[in-house]
Symmetry: C2
């Protein structure tokens, strides 16, 4: 119940509605209406994804985690695909934030910023491996959904802009510059995926700071030394 009230406050339900709701909560200890089920379902879905993997994900499991009947999610998400699509879109927003965090701590020059974004990419992937897989290596979300396509596309545009800053040419106009985009992306994505699958043992065994400088070196290699193709 306390969580219920807290989430209702968080999303800014009007205080009059809040009071009514809190009264109901006090009386029944478990109010009939959740108050913020949509968000709670997204939280529960992420939990379900983390614990059961994409393969073991079920709507009933999500409903159970949210302590709600298994028919309730249909009022907020059409079906499992709808829920996973919304979760993936949320993931892409957090993905960009993880890059922001690293970039704000890095030097302002273009290469340092690109490398920082790569470290953020890997932070996100290793902190939320199941969500990362949902976003990059599955077909369960509906990637034609407008909101998801926009957030995912935005993350790519951001990478394009950063590479443009480093190589001094617009990847949209310049074939070689677009190859630089693919180089940077492939390297960072490969590192993230191999770390998540546990195969990048040499990297996983390093202490954090050493690993970060190693990863930075690899990312730099992908962009440096260009133009020989």
């Amino acid at each position: 119940v306390s969580r219920q009230i807290w989430t209702a406050q968080r999303v800014g339900v009007s205080s009059i509605a809040m009071d009514t709701h809190r009264d109901a909560a006090r009386r029944h200890r478990r109010p009939y209406h959740h108050g913020d089920l949509r968000r709670a379902l997204l939280d529960a879905a992420e939990e379900e994804l983390t614990e059961n993997g994409i393969e073991g994900f079920s709507l009933r499991g999500v409903a159970k985690r949210a302590a709600v009947s298994h028919a309730a999610p249909a009022h907020h998400f059409r079906d499992a695909t709808g829920l996973l699509t919304a979760l993936a879109a949320l993931g892409f927003r957090r993905f960009v934030l993880a890059q922001d965090r690293r970039q704000s701590e890095a030097k302002p020059d273009a290469l340092a910023q690109l490398i920082a974004a790569g470290l953020g990419y890997i932070d996100f992937a290793t902190t939320h491996p199941a969500l990362f897989r949902l976003m990059f290596s599955s077909n369960r979300p509906d990637f034609t959904n407008a909101e998801l396509a926009e957030t995912a596309g935005g993350a790519f545009e951001r990478l394009v802009a950063q590479v443009r800053g480093v190589v001094g040419a617009d990847p949209r106009q310049d074939r070689i510059a677009m190859l630089d985009v693919m180089a940077a992306w492939s390297m960072v994505h490969g590192i993230a995926d191999l770390m998540n699958s546990g195969r990048a043992k040499p990297l996983l065994q390093m202490p954090t700071t050493e690993r970060e400088s190693a990863v930075s070196e690899l990312l730099a290699r992908a962009i440096r030394n260009r133009g020989s193709v």
Copy 2:
């Protein structure tokens, strides 16, 4: 029936057994014993994987594809995990063969050989995307299984040996050389995964020969220009 006889011949069943078996096949048109069900199940499992994905894979579906009752696979593979483990091990053997094919057509110098192996890596990944995912991005096979661990480990050892040839130091002894291994592996793996998920559009849209030279350039970047870390 003809397929049945063909597979029996392929695995070298003794000719006496063959004759008896063929007679039975003629009489019933569908023999009671399959003759090479283990192999047929592996073929069917790969088909099932390709069409339904890892998430939609079921033992019953495999049995149906092999035109056998759904309880039959238990005689050859303990359960779905056993079947997928054997399939993944088979996959790693073919994975190495794909690299052999490219390498036999390449120049003998160490860098050319490493790049050729990378092209073979990508050949395999894009030709058998579902199998590639099973091998590299799933936890359904039992990776502690001796046969699977050995074939997968062999593929990694091969990469280590090749990088050693290029950089002139043993990655097992030399920290920087092991970083070179991770660089080459991350780059090729990232390219393969982004191509398979359809996100590497710039690469996918190129004509084959151009794409191959572009990929070769990216792989070379991962190894060249080392030592600044």
